[in-house]
């Protein structure tokens, strides 16, 4: 959103940033602490919000839940019933703590995109989805080895019922798809969705802001102001859609993590 106000004032209407990374990289908050940027602050904030919701929501549990407890309980039930037990099946509740943590962390991280005055999804920095995907990768590989021993790698390479002649080909494809493509696509899916949303909102609302501001300053005509208004209406529509995307991507990341764990602990399916 800030892209327009950093360039020279003579040519307000047409000013493109050099690079799209202007929208994603920030200067340190304090000059003396170079590692503390807005991104770092928001990561910690998302984690604290997730912990805080669960801690304060479930600290004093009552039979008739208050508002806070209701939210915390429905988030827990959504992940526990809808994802862990439904997808993983028997023994799924062991993975509920992990799934609930990543669900809440990603959800809060995504929701920063549509929070007024923050407007930056921390999950649009590749480090965070990549780290979460690597953690999921370790969990499903270790769960598979713990459950099936070294036979896990046999199952991983050759699903039951593969004819002998096809084994080399299927083995290579399955190995690449499980070990490399799974974590990569898991991370890229979350990252790219949030980047797309952030760029789209910045462009639409930023353009609307420049055009309307230029009209108020007297630099631009009334037609430009009307165009800016149209961009603004479209931007608000996308804004509402992004709330849905933020929730859906958190859900999909958690769901796919559960599916990957399920293929490790119940190889017969």
């Amino acid at each position: 959103m800030i892209l327009a106000f950093e360039c020279d004032a003579e040519n307000v209407a047409m000013c493109a940033p050099d690079d799209v990374s202007v929208l994603f990289e920030f200067h340190p908050i304090f000059e003396s602490i170079p590692w503390l940027t807005r991104t770092h602050f928001l990561i910690v904030l998302a984690a604290l919000l997730a912990i805080g919701l669960m801690y304060f929501g479930l600290r004093k549990r009552r039979l008739v839940p208050g508002k806070f407890q209701l939210v915390a309980e429905s988030a827990f039930n959504f992940v526990d019933q809808g994802i862990a037990k439904d997808v993983i099946g028997k023994g799924g509740e062991r993975y509920t703590p992990y799934l609930l943590s990543i669900f809440l962390f990603i959800l809060f991280g995504n929701m920063f995109e549509v929070t007024p005055l923050v407007n930056f999804p921390v999950t649009s920095r590749m480090a965070i989805p990549a780290f979460l995907a690597i953690v999921t990768w370790f969990i499903f590989v270790i769960a598979g080895i713990a459950k099936q021993g070294l036979g896990y790698f046999g199952h991983l390479l050759w699903p039951p019922g593969v004819p002998v002649g096809l084994k080399p080909l299927v083995g290579i494809i399955e190995f690449i798809s499980t070990i490399f493509v799974r974590p990569f696509s898991l991370a890229v899916r979350l990252f790219a969705n949030l980047v797309a949303g952030h760029v789209m909102l910045s462009l639409l609302l930023g353009t609307a802001g420049i055009f309307v501001w230029g009209f108020i300053q007297g630099d631009l005509g009334f037609g430009k102001a009307l165009t800016g208004g149209a961009w603004f209406i479209l931007g608000v529509g996308i804004f509402v859609f992004e709330i849905l995307v933020a929730f859906l991507q958190a859900y999909i990341f958690t769901l796919l993590s559960a599916v990957y764990i399920q293929t490790s602990v119940h190889p017969e399916h």
């Binding site: 799209v20 809808g82 439904d86 997808v87 696509s185 890229v188 899916r189 990252f191 790219a192 969705n193 980047v195 797309a196 859906l248 859900y251 999909i252 769901l255 796919l256 599916v259």
Partner: protein
Amino acid sequence: MDQAAAEALKGALAVIGYGLAAIGPGLGIGVLAGNAVQAMARQPEAAGMVRTTMFLGIAFTEALALIGFVLFFLA
């Protein structure tokens, strides 16, 4: 070809590439969602299961378009 023209051409090619990358997933998600709606209409009691499976399918199909989108920025 001078530098500016090469840059402009690169940008235009990246846009075309992303457009091509979006065709397949677009068709795929359309087919997937359409069939999921049909399944839900025929068997409303299985709607929950169909919805979960539909989201899974959409997530896998969408990945190709998103990789195209990332390459579009890298280009």
